[in-house]
């Protein structure tokens, strides 16, 4: 785990009050129990990793958090107050931003136009109210520079960016528009090694700005590289939350896979998974 040393791992998990606290969340779809009592919380400036194998309920859980699904049972507290999100828009306005795998980016449009899509800055009044392109370009270039990406120009089409860069644009956009909680749905799953480390570096930068990051992944290495706390989901239930340093990659891996068979497999694969 050479990546360990790259990032600061703050004191976030300490005594600060969580921004979002979700208690015993259950979600049923008809007779299917997708979530059977999941508890989870995020504190400012920490990266809380949500791990689990396919079908563990990760996606259902974050969709509950971002207002797409309403929980069947359980409570959500936002900054200490009980809260119900009716639409994703409500969650977004409260400060919970989700970067889904499809990123909500339009390849044919420029980075700036994508960055401000639906929230364009304007100047002037009445009929002269117009899209403040200069300001938008400046902000966009500046925000991207902060994330370590130098654009050719603000009019560069998103289609010409790499997967990791697009991910970074989406993250930068969410942070710029005041996200307190940033939910990243498997941001590294389709990326190469170099791009992955760029995204992980971005997560680190976002965290240092005091944003709470929820990092969904099924890759233990990526999670351990930036995570402060780790919660493992299995078959719709929380298997427990561990703080960084309390748990080894092997233990995490076993928890995710449900234990037994993985130990056998690992022997034959030589610890490469």
């Amino acid at each position: 785990m050479t990546e360990d040393t790259k990032f600061h791992h703050g004191d976030a998990a300490g005594d600060q009050a969580p921004i979002v606290e979700m208690k015993d969340i259950e979600k049923h779809f008809g007779n299917i129990i997708a979530l059977a009592g999941v508890s989870f919380d995020v504190k400012p400036g920490e990266c809380h990793c949500l791990l689990g194998d396919n079908g563990a309920g990760k996606s259902t859980f974050i969709k509950t958090m971002s207002g797409v699904h309403k929980p069947t049972k359980g409570e959500i507290y936002f900054e200490g107050k009980p809260l119900h999100f009716d639409t994703p828009r409500d969650a977004m306005e409260a400060g919970i931003a989700t970067v889904f795998q499809d990123l909500a980016m339009i390849p044919l449009m420029s980075v700036t136009r994508n960055f401000f899509m639906g929230r364009e800055p304007t100047k002037g009044k009445g009929l002269l109210k117009r899209f403040d392109v200069e300001h938008a370009n400046e902000v966009c270039m500046e925000e991207m520079r902060k994330m370590g990406i130098n654009l050719r120009g603000p009019d560069q089409a998103v289609g010409t960016l790499s997967g990791g860069e697009r991910q970074t644009v989406a993250i930068a956009r969410a942070v710029y528009f005041g996200a307190k909680i940033l939910i990243l749905d498997e941001p590294t799953s389709a990326l190469g090694v170099r791009q992955t480390s760029n995204v992980l570096a971005t997560i680190d930068k976002v965290r240092s700005q005091g944003v709470g990051v929820v990092f969904i992944s099924h890759n233990v290495r990526h999670a351990l590289a930036v995570g402060d706390r780790f919660t493992v989901l299995n078959r719709g239930k929380t298997l427990g939350t561990a703080t960084r340093g309390e748990i080894t990659p092997e233990q995490l891996q076993d928890l995710m896979a449900g234990g037994q068979e993985m130990a056998e497999l690992e022997g034959s694969l030589g610890g490469t998974v």
């Binding site: 994703p88 828009r89 977004m92 889904f100 499809d102 990123l103 909500a104 980016m105 339009i106 390849p107 044919l108 449009m109 136009r113 401000f116 899509m117 639906g118 929230r119 364009e120 304007t122 109210k129 117009r130 899209f131 392109v133 520079r145 370590g148 990406i149 130098n150 050719r152 120009g153 089409a157 289609g159 010409t160 960016l161 480390s197 760029n198 570096a201």
Partner: protein, 368 residues
């Protein structure tokens, strides 16, 4: 990762040559097309084509088509099609004709009523497309026939059996609003220019070109307004976003349905404007008005750089696309060629434009 090195500049990015930058503009194809067509006619056509009178001669049909094409281009950028605009011209023409001839309404009432009526039909079109989720191609194809049929039936009902409604000119002739929608503008300027020998005159001393036909002014104003909206307003960004990927756009808070319905309404209003101008100009309205204009408008928009898949294009492109169209249709009469070459030419232009746009899109999105 060392941030300072990155901020200093990315060594992998070469400075973009001017030509490459130009290549990325959606309207480039249409501008190049205008240059090619001008060169072609400069060689083959009679010299009188590029005199002031000749230019007005080909700009008039270009403008009538262009008003439709700009509406069609905005709608295409927004990701939808409207095949019913040609029929809409006839239908709005019928409504306008009935307003002024049968009901004897003054233009100040008749013109807004025609626009509201057209916007309503456009809204019906748009709402069906949005709510059903069907391709706009099919829905508006249905309206192509429905509106054309209604125009025929309506004309017969209004005139007692004829498919032409006459007498529009007599009733609007003295209306104070008529000069905005018919005839020529800047008449006194042209008379002054003629008197000072700056433009060609008849023997009587009257200028050969009495003024700029109003549709050309409408055409230019609309092209400028549409370009401003597209490039410099939030609504423009929403149009691009709605056409580029409507799911991503609505996830980002863009009111996609509202944008698309408004664009359908705008396109219908463009058709109504053409209807009003041409009906006053001709003094009558008939059921064949605007026949096949929907295809010509879409061709002009595509030549102007609009992608059939939406999310890309420009109003200025449609402007030049329409001028190409006008130059070819009128220009051939100044040459020795058979006029029916026009359709061959149009089809070939469309094909070249689509191939060109496809290549451009790949360049922009970085596909190889």
């Amino acid at each position: 990762m060392s941030d300072s090195a990155q901020i200093a500049g990315d060594e992998r990015v070469k400075k973009e040559p001017f030509m490459t930058k130009l290549m990325k503009r959606p309207e480039l194809g249409a501008m190049a097309g205008v240059v090619l067509v001008v060169i072609f006619f400069a060689i083959t056509a009679d010299d009188s084509m590029f005199t002031l009178a000749g230019v007005m001669n080909f700009m008039t049909p270009a403008a009538q088509l262009g008003i439709l094409a700009i509406g069609a281009a905005l709608l295409m950028i927004g990701g939808e099609f409207d095949l019913s605009i040609g029929s809409m011209v006839a239908f709005a023409g019928l409504f306008f004709g009935v307003c002024v001839v049968t009901w004897q309404l003054p233009l100040i009432v008749a013109i807004p009523m025609t626009f509201v009526f057209a916007a309503f039909v456009g809204a019906v079109n748009g709402n069906i497309v949005i709510r059903s989720g069907l391709p706009s191609f099919i829905v508006t194809l249905a309206f192509l026939f429905i509106l054309r049929g209604l125009s025929l039936v309506g004309l017969k009902a209004a005139t007692g059996g004829s498919t032409q409604l006459r007498g529009v000119r007599d009733v609007v002739e003295n209306d104070w609003l008529a000069p905005f929608f018919s005839g020529e503008a800047f008449g006194s300027l042209f008379t002054w220019l003629a008197a000072n020998g700056m433009i060609d005159t008849f023997k009587s001393g009257a200028p050969k070109v009495p003024g700029v036909p109003v549709e050309i002014l409408w055409f230019i104003v609309l092209a400028l307004a549409a370009t401003y909206v597209l490039l410099r307003t939030p609504a423009g960004n929403w149009i691009f976003a709605a056409g580029g990927d409507s799911t991503a756009a609505s996830n980002s808070g863009v009111p996609v349905s509202k944008i698309k319905v408004s664009l359908f309404m705008l396109t219908a209003c463009c058709a109504a404007l053409v209807a009003i101008i041409t009906v006053i100009d001709a003094g009558s309205t008939d059921a064949r008005r605007g026949f096949q204009k929907e295809f010509e408008a879409i061709i002009a928009a595509v030549i102007g750089g609009c992608l059939l898949t939406g999310g890309y294009g420009s109003a200025i492109g449609a402007f030049f696309g329409s001028i190409i169209f006008g130059m070819v249709v009128i220009g051939l009469t100044y040459t020795d060629f058979d006029q029916d070459w026009f359709q061959v030419f149009l089809g070939a232009m469309l094909l070249i434009a689509v191939l060109f746009n496809n290549a451009i899109r790949k360049r922009v999105t970085g596909e190889r």
